[in-house]
Symmetry: C2
Subunit: 334 residues, 2 copies
DNA sequence: GTGAAAGCGCTAACAG
DNA sequence: CTGTTAGCGCTTTCAC
C-alpha cells in the first residue's frame, strides 16, 4: 500500500540512506556486495523512486508542456507520439493542452504550463503574432520554447521543426499540372499562419513557371475545418469560377471540399482533382482517398523532443532549425 | 529569471516563512495588515507556488493519468477535453498515454503512470481481461482506477462512466428498420471489448422483436480501423450475402465500409444504408455524412474526472457507475 | 499573531 | 567504501 522509500531500505538493511542512494544510482563508490544487497532488497520490496522528490531536489520538474491548436485530426496525436517515444523512456512527463485555434486559450495554456513549472514547451501555435509577448515572457523565465509546424512571425530566437512547405507545395501542384490540370485553385487558411503563405508561394511559383497563374484562383477560407472547406467551395461554385482541380491547405479543408463536390455530383478526380497538404491518416480514411503531402509527423515530434532536451541540458545552447522532408503520396483523388 | 520563493518573500518582508505561507493560504491567524503586505509583495514580485514542493509535502502528485487505446480518431481527445475542463482549474496535471490497441503497451503505460506516482488513472482499455492483474495491482497501490467506454470484464469494484450501449444500438437499428431496411448487417469489432457484445445484444433484441434476425448477418472484423472496415465488407460482398444496410460498431469501421462500397459503385444510402456508434466529428467529416449514435464524450470526461476526484478525496468512497445518455443523430448515410 | 523547527524523499558535499 | 549533514520549497505542529 504505502510506497517503499529509501529510508525503509536503509532501516531494513541497516545502511545509511546515502549508501542506498548511491547503490541505486550505480555510483562506483559502493562495495559490490553492498550494491547487490541493496538492489536485491529494492527489487524485492518493490522500491520505486519518488519522482516528485527528485524534481524538488534537482529543480527540474521533468515535465514537458505540449501546446497544440486542436486534437480533432490525428495531426497533433502523431507528433505527440514522437515526443513520447523520446521523453517517456527518460522519465519525462508530458502535459498536453489544446488551444482550440484560439490565441486566448493558447495564452491561458502557456500560463498554466508556466505554473506547472515545465522544463520546456513544445508548441504548434494558432496565430502568428498574437501571443508574442507571452512567448518572450516564457523564454525570459528560462523555459525553452520549441516550435513546430506553425511558427511565430517575428523571428524569435527559438529552435523549430518544420517541413519545406514551399517546395513541397510546388511539387504537389506540379503533379496536378502534369496530370493535365490547368485551372488549379489554392484554398488557403487564415494568413495568420505562416505555412499558409509558404504553401501559396510554392503554388504561385510553379504556376508562373508554367505560365498559368491566375490570382483569382487563390481563395481564402475563414478557418481550417471541414465545414470551412464546404463553405468556400460552395462560394466558388456559386461564383461560376472555372476550375479543374483544388490544392487545399489542409486535409480537413480538402475533405470539406470533396464532400460538397460529391454532393453536387461532381466527380473526383474526373471532373475535379483534389490534393492537400498534411500527413494525417485522414487522407486515407476518406472517399476518395486523398492525394496529400505527407509530413513525417512522428519524426517531427521526436526531433522537437530532442531539441527540447538540448535546451534543457544547456540553456545557452544555440537554437536550431530542423527542416524535415515531406513526401508526396498519390491517391485516388488526383 | 529565478523563481521567487517564500523564502525570498520572507527576507524581503522580514517575516518568517511560516507567516508568509499562512498569509498566502488565507489562514485566519494572520494580521490583516500583514496579509495584505504579503499578498501585495507576492503579486508584485511574481510569486508562483512551487507545485513540486507542494506535491512532496502533501504526498499527492496532483497528477492524473489518462490511458487511451488510440488517438487517431477524435474520440479520446474529446474525453480528454472534458477531463481538462475539470482538472486543470484545480491545478491537476494530466498525463496521457496511448496504447495503440495493444494490451502490452497498455501494461507498460500503466506501469509508467505508477512510477509517475499519479493520484488516479482514467482509462479506456483495449482488451477486456488481459491486464486484469495490473488493474488489481494499481488499485492495490491505492491508486483509484476510473474506467470509461470500455470496461474490464471481471467485475472489479471500480467507478465507471459508460453510455447505454445496448438500448441505443437497438434504437439505431430500429431506425434502419423504420426506413425500410430488412437485411441489416452488424459489423462488430473484437469481442474482447465489452461494448461490442452490448451493442450486438441491442441489435439482436430489436431484430428478433421484428422477426427478421439472421445470425449470418453478424460479422466480425479483426480490428476497428478504416482498413478493417474495408476488408470485412469486401469479404461480405465476395460471399454474395444479401444486405441492404450496415450497423457498424464504430465510426472508423463504418468509414471503411462506406469507402469500399462507394468504390464498388454501391450507392449510399440508396442501395445500402450505413449507421454507426461513436460520437466523434468523423461522422460529419465524411461523405456521405454518417448517421451515428453520438456519445456525450466531453461530458463523459468531466464525469470521469469527478469520479476520480471523489476517490482521491476519500479513498474509501464507494465506487459509482455513471450511465450517460447517448443521442441518435441522423445524417445522409441512412 | 508570529517564529522556530521538523519533515515530505532524495541527492550531494563533506568527513572519516 | 560508508555515514552525517544540509537543503530543494513548502506546510504544519509547537512554542511564545
Amino acid at each position: 500500500m504505502k510506497r517503499i522509500t529509501i529510508k525503509d531500505l536503509s532501516k531494513f538493511l541497516s545502511l545509511s540512506t546515502s549508501t542506498i542512494s548511491r547503490a541505486l544510482l550505480h555510483d562506483k563508490n559502493v562495495n559490490d556486495e553492498t550494491r547487490k544487497r541493496v538492489l536485491d532488497a529494492a527489487h524485492k520490496m518493490g522500491y520505486k523512486p519518488n519522482l516528485t522528490a527528485l524534481s524538488l531536489q534537482s529543480g527540474q520538474s521533468k515535465t514537458i508542456g505540449f501546446v497544440v491548436p486542436e486534437m480533432i485530426t490525428p495531426f497533433s496525436a502523431k507528433v505527440l507520439k514522437g515526443i513520447q517515444n523520446i521523453l517517456y523512456p527518460l522519465g519525462y512527463r508530458i502535459i498536453i493542452t489544446q488551444s482550440d485555434e484560439d490565441p486566448l486559450i493558447e495564452r491561458k495554456n502557456l500560463q498554466l504550463l508556466e505554473e506547472f513549472n515545465v522544463d520546456a514547451i513544445i508548441i504548434n501555435l494558432c496565430h502568428e503574432t498574437y501571443n508574442n509577448d507571452i512567448y518572450q515572457h516564457i523564454m525570459g523565465q528560462g523555459i525553452p520554447l520549441i516550435f513546430f509546424d506553425r511558427l511565430p512571425h517575428q523571428s524569435l530566437d527559438v529552435s523549430k521543426v518544420i517541413v519545406n512547405d514551399s517546395i513541397k507545395a510546388s511539387l504537389m501542384v506540379e503533379h496536378l499540372i502534369k496530370t493535365g490540370r490547368k485551372r488549379i485553385v489554392y484554398i488557403m487558411g487564415p494568413t495568420t499562419i505562416r505555412n499558409v503563405t509558404e504553401r501559396m508561394n510554392g503554388y504561385k511559383r510553379i504556376l508562373m513557371k508554367y505560365n498559368i497563374f491566375d490570382e483569382n484562383l487563390i481563395i481564402q477560407a475563414n478557418g481550417m475545418t471541414v465545414q470551412h472547406g464546404r463553405e468556400i467551395i460552395k462560394q466558388l461554385l456559386d461564383k461560376n469560377i472555372e476550375f479543374d482541380s483544388i490544392f487545399a491547405f489542409s486535409d480537413t479543408l480538402a475533405m470539406g471540399v470533396m464532400n460538397y463536390l460529391l454532393e453536387q455530383k461532381v466527380r473526383i478526380p474526373e471532373d475535379v482533382a483534389v490534393a492537400s497538404f498534411s500527413g494525417t491518416e485522414l487522407s486515407s480514411m476518406v472517399y476518395p482517398q486523398l492525394t496529400s503531402v505527407q509530413q513525417p509527423l512522428e519524426k517531427m515530434g521526436e526531433k522537437a523532443a530532442e531539441l527540447a532536451l538540448e535546451k534543457i541540458k544547456d540553456s545557452s545552447a544555440a537554437s536550431r532549425s530542423v527542416i524535415m522532408d515531406a513526401e508526396l503520396v498519390y491517391r485516388a483523388s488526383t
